[in-house]
């Protein structure tokens, strides 16, 4: 364990007390994702008490960080040694913590190529709903001892346990990077991305919005230069490109500003459509931004939830009501019956009394 011990003992006791008196707990780090998922409820547990320094081992490509550490501080520490979290986690606000990052399980623009947060998670220590401290996974990349419980925790919205610390695979920052812009309609953009995708190009991130396709190349200087020449388009200067990808990652660019405006004043909602990358355009009314080479599509719309969900599901994906004032339709797509049953049993297995973030992922869980 790294240096979170004093906060840890008190937290374990608090969970045991809450379990004994059946009081529900709302687990929260920096609160950067309070808007995400179902309505939080319960007594506030601030995981920022689980603070300390991260143990970064550059030659092992692994970092172990306490849950209460800020993602920004963690990334700064990695950057000192030329490494990074390759899945480019969204921060949303400066206070975003490691624990919250894992519990939400979200990945940023680089996800389509670099893999997801879950792919980079090597191990977690967590306190179960009985206040029991357990460690799953570890600090090595190849590990198949027992069920992969640590990765189950990624995206579990805190319903299985309080994350105490986590080990993540880290990677060297790419040697070179370039951002290119193209004038394209959405159909053209998807077709271009999919045809580039079958070639050995260092294609990293992509975003289409409002007639523009912006792509990021990352890799060795030789590969990035060759690919820039091959793809054409307008080269975007590094500083502007950096601001663009950061705005996309943290939902602070003009598309998301407009979406928030629409949520505020027009009863719209922001949907995250997770689709097969090659799914056709869904032609749902609203403003759309396409990432992950078609795999993640943001839709700001006032359409009824059922319509959005049905269209997404018919195309092989699922729709998350990411931001909106009315979440009565459920934040996450409903589960088929056999999976719902497994979810209910897993919740009971980790949190027998049901005190940890109850209902935050699905109502009744």
């Amino acid at each position: 364990m790294i240096s979170t011990t004093s906060g840890l003992a008190a937290l374990a006791q608090r969970i045991r007390d809450a379990a004994a008196s059946r009081r529900t707990l709302r687990i929260r780090g920096g609160g950067s994702k309070d808007f995400y998922g179902e309505e939080p409820s319960g007594e506030l547990v601030d995981t920022r008490v689980l603070d300390g320094a991260a143990e970064h081992e550059p030659t092992e490509l692994v970092v172990t960080a306490p849950a209460g550490m800020s993602v920004a501080a963690l990334e700064a520490q990695l950057a000192e040694r030329g490494q990074c979290l390759a899945f480019e986690p969204p921060h949303f606000t400066p206070g975003s913590t490691v624990g919250g990052m894992i519990a939400a399980g979200l990945s940023g623009p680089a996800r389509a190529r670099a893999g997801s947060l879950r792919d980079h998670l090597l191990g977690v220590s967590l306190l179960s709903g009985s206040g029991e401290l357990m460690h799953f996974g570890g600090r090595v990349i190849k590990n198949v001892a027992g069920y992969d419980v640590s990765r189950l925790v990624a995206g579990s919205m805190g319903i299985l346990g309080v994350i105490v610390q986590a080990s993540l695979k880290v990677l060297p920052k790419a040697e070179a990077e370039a951002t290119l812009r193209f004038d394209m309609k959405p159909g053209e953009a998807l077709a271009a991305l999919h045809s580039w995708g079958t070639l050995p190009l260092p294609l990293d991130a992509s975003a289409w919005w409002n007639g523009n396709l912006v792509v990021r190349l990352r890799g060795s200087a030789a590969a990035v230069d060759a690919a820039s020449a091959q793809l054409g388009g307008d080269a975007i200067a590094a500083a502007a490109a950096g601001r663009f990808w950061l705005g996309l990652r943290d939902h602070s660019d003009p598309f998301f500003d407009a979406a928030n405006e629409a949520i505020e004043h027009q009863d719209a909602a922001l949907w995250r459509l997770s689709l097969p990358q090659t799914a056709p355009l869904l032609a749902l009314a609203g403003d759309e931004l396409i990432e992950w080479h078609g795999g993640q599509r943001w839709l700001a719309t006032s359409l009824p939830a059922a319509l959005v969900r049905d269209a997404t599901s018919a195309a092989g994906g699922h729709a998350t009501l990411f931001r909106g004032r009315d979440k009565s339709a459920g934040a996450f797509a409903p589960l088929p019956a056999p999976l719902r049953l497994i979810h209910e049993r897993l919740k009971r297995a980790f949190d027998p009394v049901g005190i940890l973030n109850p209902g935050r992922l699905y109502r009744g869980l």
């Binding site: 081992e57 550059p58 030659t59 092992e60 692994v62 030329g82 399980g105 996800r111 389509a112 893999g115 997801s116 792919d119 179960s128 357990m134 460690h135 600090r139 090595v140 990349i141 190849k142 590990n143 198949v144 001892a145 027992g146 069920y147 992969d148 419980v149 990765r151 189950l152 995206g155 579990s156 060297p172 920052k173 999919h194 995708g197 079958t198 050995p200 060795s220 060759a226 997770s274 097969p276 990358q277 090659t278 799914a279 795999g295 993640q296 092989g316 994906g317 699922h318 996450f332 797509a333 589960l335 056999p338 999976l339 497994i342 979810h343 049993r345 897993l346 297995a349 980790f350 992922l361």
Partner: protein
């Protein structure tokens, strides 16, 4: 070739009274006969013998019945019938696993899924392949090659092993550092619950709603669900690849060179190490041109576009020189690259030539401990009076020490097991894991007691129950019981040997 000792639970299951077992078999055969054609049910001993073990041949058991369904509906029916009768089900692919994950249950049905070997779809645009569980690992890349694509995970048994088994074991290979394990390359698994109900984990998108159950299914060794169809990611085939062969006069320097490559910001496609005894054994077998004077050799592969490869090879050569390599050669062409690899790929058969039996360990340790581990293993070889040859997936810290022994000599077997247990315990103490890619199966049940606390093991059992409340899918594997761990701890402390070393073997 491998050997280890069955545990108490398995032995108990192995010895039901003959008449009771025959009655149970008649009952199960009659029930399954309603769902399967006669030729799809095997229960005569001569027919079930081929199923008595997997790649871990030291453990053998006759299944009650072998079922070979030919349709999805038949799989569902077999599971539903077994669930109703309370019969354990052990799913099986090609049977190449190295940890006994497909070891039959004496009172159970072995569900052979090898017949399901159809490639359902290759979607070149989406870069995915949807294949039935019995499709061989290499067959996916062979078919994808026509589209300039490949499936990255490449376990050494890839000619024979099936994708269903790869998913069950979360198989690795020599390219994991760059391309990930099976988990990182699978999008969706379609299969059946223990009750025989159809179920999907993951999706054709990059994620699915709810908890990430796919992460649990991958590597669950057939204990949570039966895998029927898998959708995998395909990658563009690199247009170039080159391999560097580097010699070192000291294992510590070789270990440090591995760390130096990573520290330089390079993620090689493959990074393998062999010690001198292993090098001698493979060189004698395949004549790959390895340096017999080296204390350790490294194989470092770069792949990508020709530009990238040239650049990366040059950088790696520089790092290896600075790390004290005594000899360096970079492959000049594809034939030479394959020759460099031929030795590494034949490490296991080469070991088989120099010893009647060997026991293959599979632990992973932090890379920085490689040299320390090699030194410790050297010390163990003299203490246990056995030879050990070492191949490592050095890039990801996954070790395969092969302990050489003669299974006909009971004392050698004891010593080999004690030797193996010591390596695994040291791996855990170094912050590693008892299995990097072969799985726990039955072979490493006792080692799980070392790596996980009672609370953690109990939590894993509750995960099992969440998927399979009746406990019928591959029972007795992966998660040891409290009793077993208590026994292991007691005997281990007392005698320095693994449990039940004196029990008869079959």
């Amino acid at each position: 070739m491998n050997a280890a000792t069955p545990g108490a639970e398995l032995l108990a299951a192995a010895a039901p009274p003959g008449a009771e077992r025959a009655r149970r078999r008649a009952e199960v055969v009659a029930a399954l006969g309603a769902a399967l054609p006669a030729h799809a049910l095997l229960w005569q001993r001569e027919d079930t013998v081929p199923y008595e073990c997997d790649g871990l041949t030291a453990y053998r058991e006759q299944p009650l019945v072998v079922a070979l369904p030919e349709s999805e509906a038949q799989i569902a029916a077999v599971l539903s019938i077994c669930h109703r009768l309370g019969v354990p089900v052990v799913a099986r692919g090609a049977g190449t696993g190295l940890s006994g994950g497909a070891l039959p249950n004496a009172l159970g049905v072995t569900l052979s899924l090898a017949k399901f070997n159809r490639i359902v779809a290759i979607d070149a645009k989406a870069r995915t392949a949807t294949v039935q569980c019995g499709v061989r690992n290499l067959a996916i890349s062979e078919v994808a090659a026509a589209f300039g694509l490949f499936y990255a995970p490449d376990p050494s048994s890839q000619i024979a092993c099936t994708i269903g088994g790869n998913v069950a074991e979360n198989s690795g290979g020599v390219h994991c550092l760059k391309y990930g394990l099976t988990l990182h390359n699978v999008l969706k698994v379609r299969g059946f619950t223990a009750e025989g109900e159809g179920v999907e984990f993951g999706s054709d998108a990059l994620d699915a709603a709810g908890l990430d159950l796919l992460s649990l299914i991958v590597g669950s060794e057939g204990m949570l669900a039966v895998i029927f169809e898998v959708t995998v990611k395909l990658l563009p085939r690199p247009t170039a690849a080159r391999c560097i062969l580097a010699s070192f006069d000291d294992v510590v320097k070789a270990g440090d060179a591995v760390a130096a490559i990573i520290a330089a910001g390079i993620i090689p496609a493959g990074l393998e190490m062999m010690d001198a005894p292993m090098t001698a054994a493979v060189e004698d077998y395949v004549h790959a041109g390895y340096d017999l004077d080296a204390a350790a050799i490294l194989l470092c592969e770069s792949d990508g576009t020709p530009h990238e490869v040239e650049h990366e090879v040059a950088r790696m050569v520089e790092v290896l020189k600075a790390s004290g390599a005594t000899r360096l050669a970079a492959s000049a062409n594809e034939a030479e690259r394959l020759k460099f690899w031929s030795g590494r790929k034949n490490a296991f058969p080469a070991s088989g030539r120099i010893s009647p039996d060997y026991m293959c360990m599979d632990s992973t340790i932090p890379r920085k401990c490689l040299a320390e581990m090699l030194v410790a293993i050297g010390e163990m070889t003299s203490r246990h009076r056995l030879r050990c040859v070492n191949v490592f997936h050095a890039g990801d810290g996954n070790l395969h020490p092969l302990i050489l022994y003669d299974a006909n000599d009971t004392d050698q077997l004891h010593r080999a097991e004690a030797f193996g247990a010591e390596i695994l315990e040291l791996s855990v103490a170094m912050g590693g894991t008892v299995t990097g890619e072969h799985g726990v199966g039955v072979e490493k049940l006792s080692s799980m007691c070392v790596q996980f606390s009672p609370a953690e093991r109990e939590q894993m059992l509750t995960v099992k129950r969440a998927f399979d409340p009746a406990g019928l899918l591959n029972p007795g594997k992966v998660i040891p019981t409290l009793v077993r761990c208590a026994e292991y701890g007691k005997m281990h402390v007392k005698r320095g040997l693994v449990a039940f070393a004196d029990l008869p073997r079959f």
